[in-house]
Amino acid sequence: MADTPFIARGFHGRRPAPGVRLPPGQYETRDFPVLSAGPTPRVSLATWDFTICDDAGHSKRWSWDDLQALPHDRPTVDIHCVTKWSKFGTHWEGVSVDTLLDGARAAGVSDGQFVLAFSDGGYTTNLPIADVTGGKAWIAFGYDGAPLAPEHGGPVRLLVPHLYFWKSAKWVRGLRILDRDERGFWEKLGYHDRGDPWREQRYQGD
């Protein structure tokens, strides 16, 4: 017996305005919705650090002061959440991941094809290393001219705006450089390993 779905008369759902800036299936929002997989971690900047490491035991660590001493970028970018909202022209301040990877390499951390970002609270997300290099990603601590608020990932979050925003791990504490891809919090449950909104890579297999 075929199951023909019941069509709700006159229902259209949210229909995005077509345009160059909006990836397929998205709609624009002026808000900044808060989506977090857990409660906001409480962090002390005095003890906070960021680490880039490999699985062979090499690592490079930056304190908050170390991070602040590195060159800052102020990127303005569009961001796209897999729950379908997109927000245009968001202003951030942070250090390019390229700068940090250079520092890590100089400290003997091996290269790899993939990264797994890890955060306070246990969140993780995986990405190809090509997606966090070449000026595409930042470790961000400022939003809209002010310190990044805790509910939006402060003190520091990963910012990878060209991919769906679940890859921009809030409360990030480091990156593990890997030779083989290792799935993170959402990816283990079926979300895409890369997450390109322009190719609508929401789920594994997309």
Partner: protein
């Protein structure tokens, strides 16, 4: 708005949990694999926000249960629940 203000509870995801368990589990007792606390699923804290179901222990915040509908599958990770006691009708 803090993430804690945005969180819901097991009641909000009862329908999604039906897809996994085939029975309503909001009245089931779940034992947290992290701290051992036993609570009704309806009382667990929910942080999915449209990406999926994320139920956490109100006592220790450990992730107890996750559910995501992606592609042709519903995947669930219940490794944070050591025992689930579902009342028999």
């Amino acid at each position: 708005m803090q993430t804690e203000e945005m969180r819901l509870d097991g009641n909000a995801v009862a329908g999604s949990l039906l897809d996994v368990f085939a029975v309503d589990v909001t009245a089931a007792v779940a034992t947290c694999a992290g701290c051992g606390a036993e609570r009704l699923v309806g009382a667990l804290l929910e942080y999915g926000h449209g990406m999926g179901v994320v139920l956490r222990c109100p006592g220790c915040d450990a992730v107890m249960l996750r559910v995501v509908r992606a592609g042709g599958y519903v995947r669930f990770d219940a490794s944070g629940v050591s025992v689930l006691a579902i009342p028999r009708e």
